[in-house]
Every structure is written in structure tokens, then in C-alpha cells.
């Protein structure tokens, strides 16, 4: 009852739990639900975008970042996980055809 952050009371809340501001989830990171963290191996990744399609959140973003792999292959873009919203469901890990995503337990 005596939390540090004071939440608004019934008088100032929207009635019936309606959310009057669309798309407001960007203000409410939900990544702290995660137990396992997907980590993309940019050297192994073949940029097929299957993980990008599979992610239900979606928390995998196509980033305008060129990348040169260890073997010298040039990619014009990279894929990155937005850990503010990734809930660690592991679908990307499961779907990746080249096993380029590691699934690592979160350690505090």
C-alpha cells in the first residue's frame, strides 16, 4: 500500500479499464518477464527474416546497420532483439534455420 511510486486513483482512471491512448505499450516495457534471452549470432545469421516474421511481439527489428562477418561476407543490414519487449518465448530460436540464435538464461 505504501509503494514508492504513487499510482493514480479511481477518480482519474479511465472508466471500465478502457485504454484511450492507442499504441501506448511503447511506454510500458514488458521485457522483464523474460527468463531466457535470445542472442543473435550476426556471423551465423543469413538475414532470412524468419525470426522477424515469427516474433509475436514483434521485438525483432531490422536495423540499418551494415555488418562484415568473420569470413568476410558483407551484409547491408542486421537484426536486433529489442529486449525492452522480448518476453523470451523462444519462437525465434526454434524457427531459425541456421541455429544462429542462442537462448541464454537471464542471470541477475
Amino acid at each position: 500500500m505504501s509503494g514508492e511510486k504513487r499510482l493514480s486513483g479511481w477518480k482519474s482512471m479511465s472508466i471500465g479499464g478502457m485504454i484511450l491512448e492507442p499504441g501506448n505499450f511503447v511506454k510500458r516495457p514488458t521485457g522483464d518477464w523474460r527468463i531466457f534471452r535470445p542472442i543473435i549470432n550476426h556471423d551465423k545469421c543469413i538475414r532470412c527474416l524468419i525470426c522477424w516474421i515469427a516474433c509475436p511481439e514483434p521485438a525483432i527489428n531490422i536495423m540499418d546497420k551494415p555488418y562484415r562477418t568473420a569470413t568476410g561476407k558483407e551484409w547491408k543490414f542486421s537484426l536486433e532483439v529489442d529486449y525492452n519487449f522480448c518476453k523470451g518465448c523462444g519462437l525465434c530460436v526454434e524457427e531459425c534455420p541456421v541455429k544462429a540464435i542462442d537462448f541464454v538464461e537471464e542471470v541477475k
Binding site: 499510482l7 486513483g9 479511481w10 482512471m13 479511465s14 472508466i15 471500465g16 479499464g17 478502457m18 485504454i19 484511450l20 492507442p22
Partner: protein, 396 residues
């Protein structure tokens, strides 16, 4: 100016006429005895062009109320009707309608609950919705059904309320018997009383919002408290709506109706169609010199504590006739329990004698009520206070 046309209607048809005259936009319902004629009549109004509304055919009452919830969320004026098992099947959705603050209006022809199956009248179905946060009115005449449904929209759609509302009346005893009813020749004066208003929060592609999101333990409690306040507001709003209805149309009902109560020592309290019989019995007993009056509870939620206290201020004994059973309850008549709680909380020491009658539409005749009165009178003479309900007429 006479805006009324007097025609014979059953309470079911009176409910359908009220929906038509309220110019509803959407109706979704599923047939169940004894409610079915309500929506059959509404379908007829739509088919012959008297009502421009969408009728959604669904596969169950759960779906019927779900469809109404979706429709109401878009801002449409929405109506449905059901009875008994249908209301039970809607039960989950009742809470969603009220939790999402949707002013749906529903007519209920009260009917007993299975098992064993019984299609006839009692109020078990209505009392099972007690805590669903629906405004609940119980009508005693077909006219009152018509008027209450119109008032129900006035209250439900009030921005200080925004709660769904049900209007309940006896299955068969009222739903299938004809009475003369004044219905509007033209719906314009009705719509002046309940103008359509789409300003409440609603699903609108140009201004998207979310309905029915999750509220975690940090938030859920406050949303429920908003409903508590909305129901408290409904008390005042309904009182004013009834008063305005009276001024405009010449009929008003109050929350509690009384009959020959001023010098009564004993009052017979009931609700629904049985109140008509109670008034007859009061006249008969008065002729024999008994100081008796009648009280009708018209509004069940919000419970009319002020009006009830006023109506019993000179009364010493109450005989409460209940048409439902709260099995294993502190008192097994659900309305008696509300009345007793209201009075005891205010230290009003009226003896209350609770009789269970009319279960599954077991006949309740004038003679039954006269005998109940004499039965209670004997207990009163002996100074016996009851701690249990009496099951009148049950065979051993």
C-alpha cells in the same frame, strides 16, 4: 396533446414496443420460453420497417450478450431479452457488460431454474444476477415494463452511470397475459426523453481505443470501485429519470410502491406481478378490519434503502413474500434478506416474517396470502420471532 395509443399487450410485447420506441440500433437474442415473443415482436418491427435496427442471429445466449457487448461498445443502443437458463448462460457476460460499462438494456421474463426443468415463473434467475452490477428493476404491470425499459436507457446511458440495466417481470403470469398499455403513437416524444448520444467512449476507427484490457492487482480494485460509485450514482439518476418521466408522460413509479400503508401495522411486501394480488388482499383484509398495507420493491439494484425505510416508518411487522430461494442463506428469501439488512443496519426494529411462495409458479392465490397474513398474525400475537423462512404450501 395525447401521444399515447391504448392497446392490449402482454408484458413481452410491451418490452418489444419499448425497444422499438427507444429506437434501438442492435438486438441480439436467442429464443427461450417465456421470453421468446419479445424478440419475435422486435423481429417483426424490423421486418415491416417500423424499426431500423440490426438483428443479430446467434447460437446461444452467451453469444447473444457477447454480440450485444460488441455492438454497445461501438456506441449503438442495444437491447436483448432472455429468461432462466438463458440468463444463466449469459452469466459470465453479465459481468463483462457491466465491467466494460456498456449501457445494454435487457428484458427478463423471470422463470425458475433447472433441474428439474420448469418453464414457469419464479425469480431465481434474477436473484442469481444479484452481484453482476446491473441496474435491476422489477415491473408489476405491462405498462410498467414498457415505461421501465425506456427509463432504463435513460439511466444506463447517463455518463455518471454507464451500467447495463435489466427490467424483470413474471414469466407467463405477466409475459403471456394481455393488459391495456399506453404506447407512444410516435417515438419522437420518447426520444426527446432519451435522446441518442454517441459521446461515451466507444470503438471508432477514427479514434481508436481499447476495451477489455487486463487490469493487474495494482488496478483492478479501482475499476471495481468505479462500478460501486456508478451504482450509487444510479440511485439519484434513476430517481430523477422517474420524476422526469412522470412530468413528461404522467406516469412514475418510485423505487418502492406502497398501498394503504399510512395506518398499517403490518405490511405485506413483495415484487413483480404478485403485488397486484397483494393489493387485492389488502382490500379484503381491510374490510375485515385488519390494519394492513402493501409494499412493492420496484428497484432491486441499487437497493432502495431510503424509500424502504420511509415506507415502513409506521409499520411494526413485515410479511415478505419471496419467489426465490437462497439455499442455506441466513434467511432463505433473497429479498427478505436485503430488507432485513437494510432495516437492522439502521436499527429499525420491525418484525420480519419471510414466506417462500410461488416457486416454479406454484399458484399464489388471494386465499394463500390471506392465510399467510393470519398465520403471521398468530406468530405476532404470541410474540414469536422467526429465524427462518417459512415454506408456504409445501407438501410433506
Amino acid at each position: 396533446m395525447d401521444i399515447w395509443e391504448r392497446i392490449p399487450l402482454t408484458s413481452n410485447y410491451a418490452a418489444a414496443y419499448a425497444a422499438k420506441d427507444a429506437d434501438i440500433d442492435v438486438v441480439a437474442a436467442y429464443p427461450i420460453t417465456p421470453q421468446t415473443p419479445v424478440v419475435e415482436k422486435v423481429a417483426e418491427f424490423i421486418a415491416n420497417g417500423e424499426l431500423n435496427a440490426e438483428m443479430i442471429h446467434v447460437e446461444s445466449e452467451h453469444s447473444a450478450l457477447s454480440a450485444c457487448i460488441g455492438a454497445s461498445a461501438t456506441g449503438a443502443r442495444t437491447f436483448t431479452a432472455t429468461s432462466s437458463q438463458g440468463l444463466e448462460l449469459m452469466h459470465e457476460m453479465l459481468y463483462i457488460a457491466s465491467g466494460m460499462r456498456l449501457p445494454i438494456v435487457m428484458a427478463i421474463a423471470a422463470r425458475a431454474l433447472s433441474a428439474p426443468i420448469n418453464i414457469w415463473c419464479d425469480y431465481s434467475d434474477m436473484f442469481a444476477t444479484r452481484d453482476s452490477s446491473w441496474i435491476t428493476m422489477i415491473a408489476s404491470t405491462a405498462q410498467e415494463v414498457y415505461d421501465s425499459i425506456i427509463q432504463a436507457y435513460k439511466v444506463a446511458e447517463n455518463p455518471e452511470v454507464l451500467l447495463p440495466s435489466m427490467v424483470v417481470y413474471d414469466g407467463f403470469i405477466m409475459s403471456h397475459t394481455y393488459e391495456p398499455v399506453n404506447v407512444a403513437k410516435d417515438r419522437a416524444p420518447i426520444l426527446e426523453y432519451i435522446p441518442k448520444n454517441y459521446s461515451r467512449p466507444r470503438l471508432d476507427p477514427d479514434n481508436p481505443i481499447t476495451f477489455g484490457a487486463i487490469a493487474d492487482p495494482n488496478w483492478y480494485y479501482e475499476f471495481k470501485y468505479q462500478q460501486v460509485i456508478a451504482m450509487k450514482n444510479a440511485y439519484e439518476v434513476l430517481s430523477k429519470a422517474d420524476e422526469e418521466f412522470g412530468k413528461r408522460f404522467g406516469r412514475s413509479y418510485g423505487f418502492v410502491e406502497t398501498y394503504r400503508i399510512d395506518d398499517a401495522e403490518t405490511a405485506i411486501v413483495t415484487y413483480g406481478g404478485l403485488y397486484g394480488t397483494v393489493r387485492e388482499v389488502v382490500d379484503i383484509l381491510r374490510e375485515k378490519g385488519a390494519k394492513v398495507g402493501g409494499i412493492k420493491i420496484r428497484v432491486f439494484r441499487p437497493f432502495p434503502h431510503k424509500e424502504l425505510v420511509d415506507s415502513v416508518k409506521n409499520v411494526k411487522h413485515l410479511i415478505v413474500l419471496d419467489r426465490a430461494i437462497s439455499f442455506g442463506g441466513a434467511l432463505e428469501g433473497p429479498m427478505a434478506m436485503e430488507i432485513l439488512t437494510t432495516l437492522r443496519l439502521r436499527s429499525i426494529d420491525v418484525d420480519l416474517y419471510n414466506y417462500i411462495v410461488g416457486i416454479g409458479q406454484r399458484s399464489v392465490t388471494e386465499l394463500d396470502i390471506i392465510n399467510i397474513y393470519y398465520h403471521a398474525s398468530k406468530l405476532i400475537e404470541k410474540g414469536v420471532r422467526l429465524t427462518e423462512s417459512i415454506y408456504w404450501g409445501v407438501r410433506e
